[in-house]
């Protein structure tokens, strides 16, 4: 991996960090975590479950919003504003630009998630006054949320490499929603017959399986997460993201920057 990928990633991170919209989103996410603490306190006996459910969902939701809305303009904004012209006229290959952009946004999301997770654990500590052994699974749930961001970022970047920002947002959001319900899609395929079964099965396998990355309910009930699932989700997410990035590179390599 060339040093140029790192420079582009660092600049992408710097751009996101200096964007005020990002801070608004983080603020709202932390507000949601704070609100879940309030909801938890008024939910007798299930306060921790409510806090974990609402808190982690807020982190996931706001992270996905950031991933999609920054991801879809990562490439198109550079073309529209012609900033890309002064990048690609240097010894920078097009794949380095795409991978660097992806790396930068992923790093931004990791840092954001870390900030939001710190807020979440502070809220949890305020509610429970101490951590228990099962809280380790909360870290795994947050790790899965980060994996989800990696996949969403790669998908947003893929759409951004050939489509307008609005269409990219629609496609990426649609894929996120379908992917969240991919288990239901598989269930529907199993019950269907003929062409519908083939089509539903194909779609269920093509869309990202965000369902398996969502273990929020399980960890809220202090249920353990198997190491096998951690390995499976890691490999699946990284391969899916790599395929999406490879697609983005293939499209972008052939694109005329008018």
């Amino acid at each position: 991996m060339s040093a140029r990928v790192g420079y582009i990633a660092w600049n992408t991170f710097r751009e996101a960090v200096r964007d005020r919209v990002l801070y608004n989103l983080i603020f709202f996410a932390l507000l949601m975590v704070g609100a879940s603490l309030l909801f938890g306190q008024i939910s007798i006996g299930i306060s921790k479950i409510v806090l974990v459910n609402l808190g982690l969902t807020a982190i996931s939701l706001f992270g996905v919003i950031i991933a999609i809305f920054i991801g879809i303009v990562l490439v198109s904004k550079e073309i529209e504003k012609k900033t890309l012209y002064t990048i690609l006229s240097r010894p920078v290959r097009r794949w380095e630009f795409i991978v660097g952009k992806f790396g930068g946004l992923t790093w931004t999301l990791v840092v954001n998630t870390t900030c939001m997770a710190l807020g979440f654990f502070a809220a949890l500590l305020a509610l429970t006054h101490s951590f228990v052994r099962a809280d380790v699974y909360l870290l795994i749930a947050i790790y899965f949320i980060v994996l989800q961001f990696v996949v969403v970022t790669a998908i947003a970047l893929l759409f951004s490499s050939f489509s307008s920002p609005v269409l990219s947002a629609v496609f990426a959001l649609a894929l996120f929603v379908i992917g969240t319900f991919s288990e239901d899609l598989r269930g529907f395929a199993a019950m269907s017959q003929g062409g519908t079964r083939v089509l539903a099965t194909a779609v269920a396998y093509i869309v990202p399986n965000f369902g398996s990355l969502n273990v929020i309910s399980q960890v809220a009930h202090e249920m353990p997460i198997s190491s096998q699932l951690v390995l499976y989700n890691t490999a699946y997410s990284l391969l899916y993201a790599a395929a999406a990035i490879a697609g983005a590179v293939l499209i972008f390599e052939r694109r005329n920057l008018k």
């Binding site: 420079y7 751009e15 890309l84 002064t86 006229s89």
Partner: protein
Amino acid sequence: MAAIEITGLTKTYTVGFWRKRPKCALKPLTLTVEDGEIFGYLGPNGAGKTTTLKLLMGLIFPSGGGARILGKPMDDPSIKAQIGFLPEQPYFYDYLTAAELLTYYAQLSGVSARERRTRVDDVLHRVGLTDSRRTQLRKLSKGMLQRVGIAQAILHDPKVVFLDEPMSGLDPIGRREVRDLIATLKEEGKTVFFSTHILSDAEALCDRVAVLNKGELRVIGSVGELTSRAQGRVEVIYQGIRAAALDRLVIESHSTGETTRIIVAQDSLDAAIEAIRRANAKLLSVNPVRSTLEDYFVEKIADPVEAVP
């Protein structure tokens, strides 16, 4: 060795949504720019100047032909470290300061960590932006951004510099400074290929120019060649009574009091002077009419037939 060799470079786009049809943005272009030359690429808006530069920079892909820069194919990534490019109306990451932006570009251009700071300071000084090094680009004026654009194009000490409308958005002082800077680049042995529609700039700077119109190369040559080729007329100023014999020779005439200014063809000069002497008028001056590049440009653009062989 030629710095830039363009051979049959062509670009055709497909336009239309339902009924797709080809639109030729650049007809087969062949030209050579010598090492150390300042080469002006002229043409009205939409002539194909920016298309040519985008093709050379690898931002769009040619439909035919190709080019070699410093002896290497234009799509060879290694060549990019030796060229600098200023796009038309450049826009930069406005959340960065001028120094941050240039440092980022220096990193991408492969300038070593040791040299980066010196190069950035040096280039900011050259474009007169030392005091603005810590100012975010969103706070800079259009003219200052153009200077940042020029700074990023020469930052890594390239051998060939491509400038797309470098004087655009600059005030007269800024234009003069950029002109001086381009002249300095030539003194340093760099090749400068710049597109412009400000003909006085091309006339003042360029060793050679090419005129492009509607995607087609119309003419190429030195400014002197083109402007002397254009006319061949002489301005004669005399004082006294107008000689009747002059009437058939004069192309243009203007009198103020007793002084008359006439324009005659070079071939008719002797006859005109003879006629003035015979009329006992006083000959004040004889000067060749130097046509400007603008005259030539307008003539070439208006002429729909003649093209470079």
